[in-house]
């Protein structure tokens, strides 16, 4: 089925708020907003952003544009950081330490860092989830 942009925008509330500091006309915020809209409305997400334009413009203390949980650590390790958060989820879920419901894990690779300095950490991500 074709992706119906109008329908998605009309029916799915945004999980990425306005007021962030990305430049007017930049393509990244609508991309992030649409990715977040792809989640099931009832699911919670843990989002990880690598250091980069997107991350520094959407989460300047004390403000955040992310309505889901968000973590940023460093430039090259969004993959490993989120793999750790996901391992926590698997472990705590198994032990009955978390309530019912699904959490999804989404990493944004930053502005190119993930496929040069961050390639090693990305391999960890594949190792965990493959």
């Amino acid at each position: 089925m074709a992706y119906n942009l109008k329908e998605v925008v009309a029916n799915r509330p945004s999980r990425f708020t306005p007021g962030h500091r990305m430049c007017a006309g930049c393509g990244a915020p609508p991309i992030a907003r649409h990715i977040m809209r792809a989640l099931k409305p009832e699911d919670h997400a843990v989002v990880c952003g690598a250091t980069g334009c997107m991350e520094v413009s959407t989460f300047i203390y004390p403000y955040t544009a992310w309505t889901d949980s968000f973590i940023h650590t460093a430039f090259e390790c969004a993959g490993a950081t989120l793999a750790g958060a996901e391992a926590a989820y698997q472990s705590m879920k198994k032990q009955g330490k978390l309530p019912e419901g699904d959490t999804k894990f989404i990493a944004f690779g930053g502005d190119g860092g993930t496929y040069d300095i961050g390639l090693q950490s990305l391999s960890r991500c594949y190792g965990t989830w493959a």
């Binding site: 793999a83 958060a85 032990q95």
Partner: protein, 397 residues
């Protein structure tokens, strides 16, 4: 009744981790700490623990994954040595700044280069200003006991800082000693459950962790870390008191060994304290009033208490198992002497850099330090406060 066992230092650390049963362990092997995740992954494979083991591709990712896990609401642990800690270095600072009480078992080894796999403290000294609590362990028993106390200290609401338990590579990590283990159920009760106030996996209260923190707030956040480190001192004492109630084993910020009436004293950390105690006993038998101050808590640094404990000494030597290469002296020397200065205590002090790259430090070496101190007491003269112990003679020029 406690369980009498015989374990290597690495086995002791892994056993403590098994009894703590953390939610996540992410680790990458490096000599001499390799056995810790190796033993622990066996516990995971056998279903002895509930832990999710993340077999990462590097130590940088090990610490990154521990940060992700701890921020998500889990108890996360890891182990490393030397270059592994160097590779983690960027994330070590991020872990403490995000106020995540991760616990790391650091088996001390020389940082390259040139490459050397044996004990010194250059790895630990490289992260001494990173905002981690640092506990040092003379024996396998102390490595085990410090690990059992770690979470209670790190997770305390007035602290919320990561903590590393240090022990000497090979000297204790691979040496098998008698050890008294605490029963599993008692450990479980002592360590307790971890209920973080805010965490990523709480869907009722989504949070954002690790912001861009500019001129307006970073200074305040760093000051909060400093306050937490100051708070840690009392928490360490309180937790140690509880631990003593359970085991009968007493721990403070440092151990004073025959220090009360001592005239000459050595200050050192980890396994060298064991050798020093042996020498102190021998010297005491000869009528020489020798004493030892063994640092257990290196961060937060108990400067005021150390100055007080050493105030009556006539001459003292501070032993550093890492050289700061600053033409002034080792890190422990600088911490001890500056603490004494600001507390208005003046004791003639010398520094020995020793045991680099696993160079064996024998009882005779330690004895020679006490002899040098007696000479200083007699002559009241120190011609060079920054010295080496056990260095080949031809290299001393």
């Amino acid at each position: 009744m406690s369980i009498r066992e015989r374990l290597s230092g690495n086995e002791a650390a892994a056993t403590a981790m098994k009894q703590i049963n953390p939610d996540v362990v992410a680790a990458f092997p490096i000599t001499p700490s390799t056995e810790i995740p190796q033993y622990f992954s066996t516990f995971v494979a056998n279903g002895t623990v509930d832990t999710e083991f993340v077999a990462v591709e590097s130590e940088h990712s090990a610490m990154s994954a521990c940060i992700g896990a701890e921020a998500a609401g889990a108890r996360a642990m890891t182990a490393t040595s030397a270059n592994g800690l160097s590779l983690m270095w960027e994330m070590i600072y991020i872990a403490s700044s995000l106020r995540l009480p991760i616990v790391l078992s650091l088996v001390n080894r020389a940082v390259s280069g040139p490459l050397n796999i044996h004990c010194d403290h250059s790895d630990a000294m490289g992260v001494r200003d990173s905002g981690w609590i640092m506990l040092f362990s003379e024996t396998n028993q102390e490595a085990y006991d410090n690990t059992l106390m770690a979470h209670r200290i790190a997770e305390h609401k007035d602290v919320m800082l990561p903590l590393m338990v240090c022990q000497d590579g090979f000297i204790t990590s691979h040496a098998i000693e008698n050890i008294e283990l605490v029963e599993d159920d008692k450990v479980k009760e002592f360590v307790g459950e971890y209920h973080p106030e805010h965490y990523l996996l709480n869907k009722e209260e989504p949070i954002a962790v690790g912001p861009l923190d500019l001129q307006a707030y970073l200074f305040e956040h760093k000051a909060q870390q400093a306050t937490a480190m100051k708070n840690a001192k009392q928490v360490i004492l309180d937790v140690s008191k509880d631990f003593e109630k359970m085991t009968g084993r007493s721990y403070g910020l440092f151990e004073e060994y025959k220090l009360e009436d001592a005239e000459v004293a050595i200050v050192c950390m980890n396994s060298t304290a064991g050798t020093t105690k042996f020498v102190v006993d021998n010297l005491r038998a000869e009528g020489i009033k020798a004493g030892l101050l063994k640092i257990r808590v290196f961060r937060p640094f108990p400067g005021e208490e150390i100055a007080k404990a050493l105030s009556h000494i006539k001459a003292m030597a501070i032993l550093d198992r890492a050289d700061s290469l600053n033409a002034a002296g080792g890190a422990l020397f600088e911490d001890v002497t500056s603490s004494m200065y600001v507390n208005n205590v003046h004791v003639p002090a010398i520094n020995y850099v020793y045991g680099i790259g696993g160079r064996d430090t024998k009882a005779d070496d330690i004895k020679s330090v006490y002899m040098d101190l007696l000479d200083i007491v007699k002559t009241n003269k120190i011609d060079n406060p920054y010295r080496y112990l056990g260095l080949r003679k031809e290299a001393q020029k």
